[in-house]
């Protein structure tokens, strides 16, 4: 069997285990192991991407137990893209943390590796209960990383974040229990086969189960009624952690996308579960995020609200799950994740330079070496505000064209363009507060090699996605077409088991 699909999550797991076994031997060991693991994992993710790029769906049966009886990892183009994105965001975040943030508390590096493993696993798994387990792995690591560094603000943010997610996990399990109780399977491809033939008596229960599951994914994605926790939680974390968190909402979004396309299909039980209310909530989330951007008092809170806007934007595309909308989503998602992560890192750099003022958006002496920091800010801001010529503009253009049927177009265009205008205004106002002040600039402060390189990599992501827009968009189209074809996925997972003998359930 080809062991490639499990490597992107096995490598960080092993690294975390080795670090914990080594104990407190000084942070230098941890840094070396962590960086080596991230680079190896990224290499594995790249090879996985190349393999998945040929159009085959790689399936890895854990312990060689075949689906639907065992747990499978499935690497199609979508999963490979997301795993690669995890590493593309993780490496800069780790480099940023190496600037000294990892010394603020114990066990930063093992937890970081566990979070990477959880993220990669959540994107790769093809089983609903296994998805729950990987969610818990990444959440448990994130709970601890959030309060890393201590302080009352983080402790308070940590409490609300942990309680909210524990309730979410309980609801996830309720959905799992109902799905298993009614369908008798938790494998996503198998669910797709069983779902159209649900007996009429179970229909309501199955529908409830999937409604709860969708609700849980929306909580993770921070959609409107459940979105208020996100900005203050993300901005309370240390910059490196905040940057890594930028991908956590995307776990919920991609899980929802996969479930709605592969699992739901055209089954009667799940008909109309997302439309028409998900687009409404998504648009409201965009509006809330825009208001949040205006209300933000710190640059990190601006970044947190931008996460909300991108969540709303992506979920609107998920609601209309068709090939062009998904292709636009898959082009926009990496851009939005990397650019928001970059803004979190930049907020950290600016806070370091401004001393007591931190990254608060108030008048003060302007940041030293403003040419370097200012140009990084400019590139990120152009990407985040979706102004031409960078990838944010291209992504939004694809989304405007691809997502939403006729009736939704005015609202959709209004929300996207309005939020773009709002973000442009706020980011330019912040720039004048941070970089254009009459007072003497603060003395330039040399940045450590790690944090500088981390920020540089994320700033570079926008131009890279712009220069490589044609291949990236082509890849996104292929990934979307592969996802929506459904049959290759189901056939690859269930293999040549033509008719699984199902026990009759009382």
């Amino acid at each position: 069997m080809n062991h490639l699909p499990i490597l992107p999550l096995l490598i960080p797991f092993m690294a975390a285990a080795i670090m914990l076994a080594l104990g407190q031997r000084g942070v230098a060991h941890h840094r070396a192991i962590g960086l080596a693991s991230m680079l190896l994992g990224a290499l594995a993710a790249l090879v996985l991407g190349v393999e998945a790029g040929t159009g085959t769906v790689l399936v890895y049966a854990l312990g060689d137990w075949r689906a639907p009886f065992g747990i499978v990892l499935v690497a199609d183009r979508l999963a490979a893209t997301m795993v690669l994105l995890v590493y593309a965001l993780g490496i800069p975040a780790l480099l940023m943390a190496m600037g000294g943030a990892d010394r603020l508390g114990r066990h930063f590096h093992p937890l970081f590796q566990l979070q990477i493993a959880g993220l990669a696993g959540a994107f790769l798994t093809g089983d609903i209960f296994n998805l729950f387990v990987f969610f818990e792995i990444l959440l448990l690591a994130s709970y601890t990383m959030l309060v890393h560094g201590g302080g009352p603000e983080r402790a308070r943010a940590g409490m609300s974040y942990v309680i909210l997610n524990l309730v979410g996990s309980a609801m996830f399990l309720v959905a799992v229990a109902f799905i298993y109780g009614t369908l008798g399977t938790l494998n996503m491809a198998d669910v797709a086969i069983v779902l159209p033939n649900v007996p009429a008596g179970d229909l309501a229960l199955v529908r409830t189960a999937f409604a709860i599951l969708v609700g849980v994914f929306l909580l993770k994605a921070a959609v409107l009624p459940m979105a208020f926790w996100l900005p203050h939680v993300y901005s309370a974390a240390t910059p490196a952690v905040g940057a890594l968190f930028a991908i956590m909402t995307k776990v919920g979004i991609v899980a929802l996308l996969r479930l709605s396309v592969i699992g739901f299909g055209d089954a009667k039980a799940t008909e109309g579960l997302l439309l028409p209310w998900l687009p409404v909530l998504a648009l409201a989330t965009i509006a809330l995020g825009t208001v949040g951007v205006f209300a933000a008092k710190r640059l990190a809170t601006v970044a947190g609200s931008l996460v909300l806007i991108s969540s709303g934007t992506l979920l609107f595309a998920v609601a209309f799950a068709d090939v062009p909308a998904t292709a636009a989503l898959l082009y926009y998602l990496p851009h939005a994740t990397l650019a928001t992560g970059g803004l979190f890192l930049l907020a950290g750099h600016i806070a370091e330079r401004r001393g007591e003022l931190g990254d608060r958006l108030v008048r003060g002496p302007c940041v030293g070496d403003r040419v370097v920091v200012g140009s990084a800010y400019a590139v990120l801001a152009v990407g985040l505000a979706s102004l031409p010529p960078l990838s944010g503009f291209l992504g939004k253009l694809m989304l405007l064209q691809g997502a939403g049927s006729a009736g939704w177009q005015p609202l959709w265009w209004g929300a996207l363009l309005g939020s773009g205008l709002g973000v442009t205004l706020v980011l330019s106002r912040s720039a004048s507060l941070l970089f254009w002040q009459p007072a003497d600039p603060l003395p330039a402060k040399p940045t450590g090699a790690g944090p500088g390189l981390g920020l540089f990599l994320l700033v570079l992501a926008g131009p890279a996605l712009t220069v490589g827009a044609a291949p990236a968009a082509g890849w996104a189209r292929d990934a979307s077409a592969q996802l929506h074809a459904r049959d290759p996925y189901v056939a690859a997972v269930l293999g040549d088991v033509p008719d699984i003998e199902r026990e009759r359930r009382p």
Partner: protein, 143 residues
């Protein structure tokens, strides 16, 4: 039997949700523990109610119990236990850092206004009462 179990699980969930919505971290922790009990029972019931069927194939057994919910519930128990332990540790740390075990109070200047002030006043009153008790005990021990 099904009705009884369903009602029982529903009651546990109702109590859990009520406690989670309370403002103090202790009742929230209890509520989450109740929620996870309810969830565990629910998963267990997903395998149907059966009395004598073994989960393994044994000679003489007429049927098999579904072993998967038992495996799922085991995983869920372990995860829930770890999470609760972490939450308790975090709640203690939060109490130490912020001086309050309220889970619903935002940062300073969050516009909570009067409610915030009354909560703080209550906290102070509670704290004063606790200190009085502590002093009493301390005095007793020294004498």
């Amino acid at each position: 039997m099904e009705i009884l179990l369903a009602l029982g699980i529903g009651l546990i969930f109702a109590c859990g949700i009520f406690l989670v919505l309370r403002p103090r971290s202790f009742s929230v922790v209890l509520g989450l523990a109740l929620l996870s009990y309810g969830v565990n029972l629910l998963i267990f019931m997903g395998g149907r109610i059966d009395r004598i069927a073994p989960p393994l194939s044994l000679p003489g057994a007429t049927g098999l119990a579904d072993p998967l919910p038992q495996a799922l519930v085991l995983t869920a128990i372990v995860i829930g236990f770890g999470m609760t332990a972490y939450l308790v540790a975090l709640a203690l740390r939060s109490l130490g850092e912020t001086g309050s075990d309220r889970v619903d109070v935002g940062g300073p200047g969050d516009g909570a206004g009067e409610d915030l002030n009354t909560l703080r006043a209550e906290d102070r009153a509670d704290g004063a009462a606790d200190r009085a008790i502590d002093d009493g005990r301390g005095g007793g021990a020294s004498r």
